[in-house]
Symmetry: C2
Subunit: 549 residues, 2 copies
């Protein structure tokens, strides 16, 4: 990775701290004191870490990753073998790779080997990560052998990232790592990024680059908000007309089954789950283009107006369609969960439609259209249950009192701090598991250091019992797509999402904004060196600036 | 350029207009109605344009740019010859170029030639553009010959850009241009972009890409805020220790004389002036690292505190240094103007220093430190006057009552609309020329369509006579560097700066936000096709999305 040397970190310190013509900072935002953190550039901070003063060297001509004797995953495990190549490249850099020496003599203070040991009988190498996966690892760096132990390959991947983050260059440019002990595990099991490929189509290249960066930040869930009102880029084998008619372009702006498979495998190799969201009954304008009679015809007085509203909840054909559609989804996406949306249903079209009115009367719903919404969602949840998937739904579904399976995840996205904390309390007191996103809508930009407020939010800060707190399984940073596409998505997401990554991984007590600033500055320069255009936190420089434009 | 076809423009229309979970738009911001503009993708809109319904074809195998008989610039004019190659590439695209046909038979509705005629005796081909340059042009598109007439090469460059913007693809992908007449000239002579290479170093590649994009938007001034408190990347031949000590890094983060020369020539070939800013007496922390005794030593009680304030205005050595430094600057930068800054001088250090106090008493300045500031600036202006340059200064210098040459440009950057309008009125009623930037601080981002407010600001909207209005020579969009570097600068600047480009070029009456939205959406897709990561205005797609990440 051509890591930052200590001298480079000190140089970073020079570039900061004077007031400037346009430096209108948010009043709550701390103006950081710049100095190298005692934790170097580690991000997110491990649960336990002891870095000694003893510097050891690494050489690209001798260093090896090896599978420990007795490890339950080895040469045939592509998750590990791919990761070794990736991290060798990060640590020793691109073009100037030297030939591995046959005569592997090494100095007394040289680390020549990182021995990787998977300790569970089931390494999970050929499986997929899941919400119950053990992601812990233990890392011990010594000369000549460093040791990484993890119950599963998913923990080992995190350990490899941490190992690479411990490597730096001394003042002569020599690869160096201090003797170190790390014992690490995530605070929350679900640490996600939502990307939206409907408001703007996101080329596969962009998705993969962001999965790569997620791994550098120990995120483990890609929440793929794949379709919405604006476009339907998912090419369905069962209903190909959905993207044929509903995508921005049926050939250049779709994800084929092969594309989706590639995204899922690329993610798996980095310990990342892919959870697709197919949001209904609202947010479905693009679905209606390829699927006749799926959406509710809106009326203007006594006649259809020609426009359409949410999914039509009163037709049997709707549920036939959903059964076949979600059956496909459940086989295409291996994760145990699917996100069903359920947010922001606009009732005005339903209210205008005489058939819907009649149905409301028959069912005894009166004027309460949220009962109709619940009627729909209830039937949808039953359909998805038959596919053996768990489901995640936006908070409105819970707010409307729909009957939910006990293992449902309720995703909180609305409101200010007081409001979302009260929602989290309600959900957990009803015994449901929950995910937080409200403070992490990273699409909402503002001028200044806008990583600090997301960093300060804590998903367990609400009034509730210890039992309730345990029902918080994590959160997601969301980058909705109205204002981002391939041109600006990556720098807008990173390193702002890194702030969320540390909140979801590290111990609750890790809240020192100054220390975070210093580690994060170095971490962002590392992402830049790895080819990711992660934007700056504030006035500063990186030893190697981004090579693109 | 593989321009947008009309059908592509209509497709663009599909991607928009539903309310969405995170669509919190500014209340003043208009939600646009999407439809192709009758002006296609022209940006900025020419002063007069008549596009007929007659479609003509262009072929990469036959089309030529030619120098008209009697033109005062031709085969030996590198400004034109370079531009022909650039625009051929934009129009006919990159890899699939065909060999020019010897047998140049053409259909009756084919444009085979754009004849370029420079009409002034002095074409200015070997010179530099300046504030008094004539940038007008007349373009007439017909078959088989289109004609572009301009008094100078600078006008011809704008005409070539307009010609390229008129080309689109028909539904079969054929290059098409409608028979058209354009008569065009800029509303304001000074249309600038400020980039700041001190808070973050901007690699040459980034500067050049943005100059390229400026030309696509008919900007004609690159205001290079090259040094500031944070770093001094300008490698001075006379005082090399300034960057040796004051740059972020003396080798990797500096602009050598060859770099500066390359930037100036690249800009000249695109009709862009390069005006450097060397801001004093404040904003000079980085200068003090390489130049002993230049800055004022601050005192803590009776002893020096070890920190330094603004330039020390009471030493003769200061003025010797400035004389030699600005002599170099005046020869390195060919433009007729240099920007001398003069903003935000913090008096606290001066107040702490006993020698300064003594000097204040001797001069009879009392406690009025703005008099000391004026004393310094006055001497600096006299120095710069001897180099035969005009100067631009930030508004504080005028506010403090410094005596200014009549041709001084006063740059307004402070305040809200009411405040900057009152400042513009004051400056022009005192008979000075002025430049506006207050509404165009594009570093200040916010969520939503933040191109609309900059688009609505008009530099001549203030209370004053017609004579006063004429003293407004233009404005500049500023992208201060605290939060931008190579990773995010380009998408953050474009197409937001394009809004300012149209305000400064097009007629005052061009204010239709809907029409602007539609033209600008297409213009931004064109910039993307030309390899510039210009960010989206709102939910939408481009026929060819950005290829980077």
């Amino acid at each position: 990775m051509r890591a930052l040397s200590v001298s480079a970190l000190l140089l970073l310190a020079l570039g900061c701290c004077w007031g400037t013509q346009d430096n209108f900072l948010d009043e709550d935002v701390v103006e950081p004191v710049i100095q190298a953190s005692k934790y170097g550039s580690l991000w997110p901070l491990p649960q336990k870490v002891q870095i000694s003063d003893v510097p050891l060297k690494l050489s690209g001509t001798t260093f090896e990753f090896t599978d420990a004797k007795g490890s339950t995953a080895g040469a045939s495990c592509s998750v590990l073998q791919n990761a070794y190549r990736r991290y060798f490249d990060y640590i020793f850099g691109g073009p100037k790779k030297q030939k591995m020496s046959r005569n592997r003599r090494s100095g007394p203070t040289e680390v020549t080997e990182l021995q990787v040991s998977i300790t569970s009988p089931d390494s999970q190498c050929d499986g997929y990560p899941g919400v119950t996966s053990d992601e812990s690892y233990e890392l011990s760096v010594d000369a000549p052998v460093a040791v990484l132990k993890a119950p599963t390959v998913w923990g080992a991947l995190h350990g490899l990232e941490t190992f690479s983050q411990l490597v730096y260059e001394d003042k002569y440019g020599a690869k160096t790592i201090n003797s170190t002990k790390v014992s690490d595990f995530p605070r929350f099991a679900h640490r996600g990024i939502l990307l939206d490929s409907s408001r703007h189509f996101l080329p596969i290249k962009v998705l993969l680059a962001n999965l790569e960066t997620m791994a550098m930040n120990k995120f483990n869930v890609f929440h793929w908000h794949i379709v919405d009102d604006q476009s339907f880029p998912y090419l369905s084998r069962t209903f190909p007309q959905l993207s044929q008619k509903g995508a921005y372009h049926p050939y250049t702006h779709v994800y084929t089954p092969a594309d989706v498979k590639m995204v899922i495998e690329f993610a798996r190799l980095r310990g990342i789950r892919v959870i697709p969201e197919f949001d209904t009954p609202g947010h479905t304008q693009s679905w209606g283009k390829g699927q006749m009679d799926l959406l509710t015809p809106c009326f203007s007085g006594a006649a259809p107006s020609g426009t359409f509203g949410p999914v039509n909840p009163i037709l049997n054909t709707t549920y036939d369609f959903m059964s076949r559609f979600f059956k496909e989804v459940s086989s295409v996406f291996p994760d145990g969960y699917v996100h069903l949306g359920g947010d922001e249903v606009d009732f005005s079209c339903w209210k205008s439609n005489p058939d819907i009115k009649k149905f409301m009367d028959e069912q005894g719903f009166g004027q309460d259209y949220s009962k109709l919404e619940s009627f729909y969602i209830q039937k949808l949840l039953d359909i998805v249950t038959t596919t053996k998937k768990g489901y995640i739904i936006w908070q409105e579904v819970f707010d409307n009192g729909v009957k939910l399976k006990p293992d449902t995840l309720i995703h909180v996205w609305k409101g200010n701090q007081e409001q979302y904390q009260s929602e989290m309390a309600k959900i957990t007191s009803a015994g449901y598991q929950t995910l937080l996103s409200s403070p992490w809508y990273l699409n909402r930009i503002y001028y200044g250091q806008d990583w600090q407020n997301p960093y300060k939010a804590d998903p367990q800060d609400f009034k509730g019992t210890e039992e309730q707190k345990k029902l918080v399984i994590g959160g997601e940073a969301c980058l909705w797509g109205e204002y981002v596409d391939a041109t600006n998505l990556t720098p807008r997401l990173w390193p702002r999402a890194s702030a969320v990554a540390e909140r979801l991984w590290s111990a609750k007590e890790v809240t020192d904004i100054n220390d975070a600033y210093n580690r994060l500055s170095a971490h962002r320069c590392r992402m830049v060196e790895r080819g990711i255009p992660a934007e700056p936190l504030f006035s500063s420089f990186c030893p190697h600036e981004y090579k693109g434009i």
